[in-house]
Amino acid sequence: MSFDVSSIRSEFPVLHQQVYGKALAYLDNAATTQKPQVVIDKISHYYERDNANIHRGVHALSERATAEYEAAREKLRALLNAASTCEIVFTRGATEAINLVASSWGGANIGAGDEILISEMEHHSDIVPWQMLCERVGATLKVLPINDDGELCMDQLDGLLSERTKLVGIVHLSNALGTINPIETIIEKAHNVGAKVLVDGAQAIAHIEVDVQALDADFYVTSAHKMYGPTGIGLLYAKEAILETMPPYQGGGDMITMVTFEKTQYNELPYKFEAGTPNISGTIGFGAAVDWLLDKGIVALANHEQELLDYATKQAVLFDGLRQIGTAKNKATVLSFTLDSVHPHDLGTILDREGVAIRAGHHCAMPVMQHFGVPATARASFAAYNTFEEIDALFSALTKAREIFG
């Protein structure tokens, strides 16, 4: 069955507009994806009909809001194939989820002389929390390097892992390079030395089917807004046995069962890690995005995106003066590049005036820029609703940029 991209596009109201008199080609999906009408409607419906605080009200609205909120947790559990909903902790996003693990699990389990291993292609959100932890407890941050195709140097992994390694933080799909990492192998090898593994799935979740049990991942984090859901909501998946041992991250309402001035008893999982009134509408929207994603089929969407990437890559190879940053054999959705005659920020501006939205910058992965010796790259990133015509628009805008600087 052929993929009906126009039907998909019709579900995204934001796509149907012009910018500067040109049809919008939104190719900045690695930064954030657009939202389908069903997600927008779900959030509106919550505010129009069900708005109430959750887990405490005895009235109808609170019960409806609570039911929708917890239904979203079950949808996310199913999406990741977690063993139990108590393993799904809602956070503000992937960044907060990593900070939660670094602060709570890291604070309790990582000490002086211990090591944390991350990779050279990590997003700043999977670098800085670990640096902060290392500084606090006297642990050492180690880095698995990448090669010039933007792939992990897997031959160096064994040498970097030892019984001192307590945690490995690894990105599933790189936002700067598009590389899909062999996380199964990394998890297996890390477990062999007794280390836990946190997988940063912020970019992966809309493109790759994830089964946390099959992967045997200890922690998996992601954000809703990169999978057609709203901003400000994401999650931490962690194995129940690990969550049980972790101290709370933040204190407040909802994470307790009994408070006296002498002692506080913490709530059960996962509520122990969800202090305060959560992002209820965002969580419900997150659930709607899961429904949308599963209804279309992650594999079907990913196949379409792969065709787009292949089509774009073929044109990139032929484009004079274009240098691709990130040419891994196993990659998805991201075309990162520089032009020899035009700085990425000038490209961003010129493309914008042609209606083509891309990202220009370091993509919150400065070490990747340092590896390739560039201050920034231009990045086009694809989602389910993108078309071959939009990629043609990208390359004709690039031609125009080259002419301006010619």
């Binding site: 500067y20 008199g21 035009v342 700085h343 990425p344 920020h345 000038d346 501006t349 010129i350 005036r353 220009a360 910058g361 370091h362 400065m366 820029m369 201050p375 920034a376 125009k400 301006i404 600087f405």
Partner: protein, 151 residues
């Protein structure tokens, strides 16, 4: 409708391609670094200011987009031979031009060739590209140790 060519005027494209006064001034009486954390543009400005407070020589080096490189190149041309007080006046004028309303004509008497950068007004995300070198110049003249930032 504002056209891209109003931003990327030929003189800007030229200064980007062959920046004037590019390189290190050694020795120099003043110097400063500038950095735009949003886009990674980096700039180092070197000056020789004589006893009368006149900028005798100025050079810059670094990496940045066309707007930032051309702006720095044009600035070094404009400021050679100017006094510190004159710098302050041109700087104020330049800042005003970069953020003023589109219908306001730049003060070409003070700004001269620098008026070609007036186009950045229409591109809010690019104003800082044009002003980074000026902030860096101010740091250099005032001998501040902190790198200049646009944020």
């Amino acid at each position: 409708m504002f056209d891209l060519r109003d931003l990327y005027l030929q003189v800007i494209v030229d200064h980007n391609k062959s920046p004037r006064n590019y390189g290190v001034l050694n020795p120099s009486s003043h110097d400063a670094e500038g950095y735009n954390p949003l886009c990674g543009d980096q700039l180092h400005i070197y000056l020789n200011i004589n006893d009368d407070g006149v900028i005798e020589d100025v050079k810059f080096e670094g990496q940045g987009c066309a707007i930032s490189t051309a702006s720095a190149s044009l600035m070094t041309e404009a400021l050679k031979g100017k006094s510190k007080e004159e710098f302050q006046q041109v700087f104020e004028n330049f800042k005003h031009m970069a953020t003023s309303d589109l219908d306001e004509a730049p003060d070409e008497e003070v700004l001269g060739k620098l008026a070609v950068l007036a186009g950045v007004r229409e591109f809010p995300s690019r104003i800082k590209c044009a002003t980074l070198c000026w902030h860096t110049m101010k740091s250099a003249i005032e001998n501040t140790d902190e790198p200049a930032k646009t944020e």
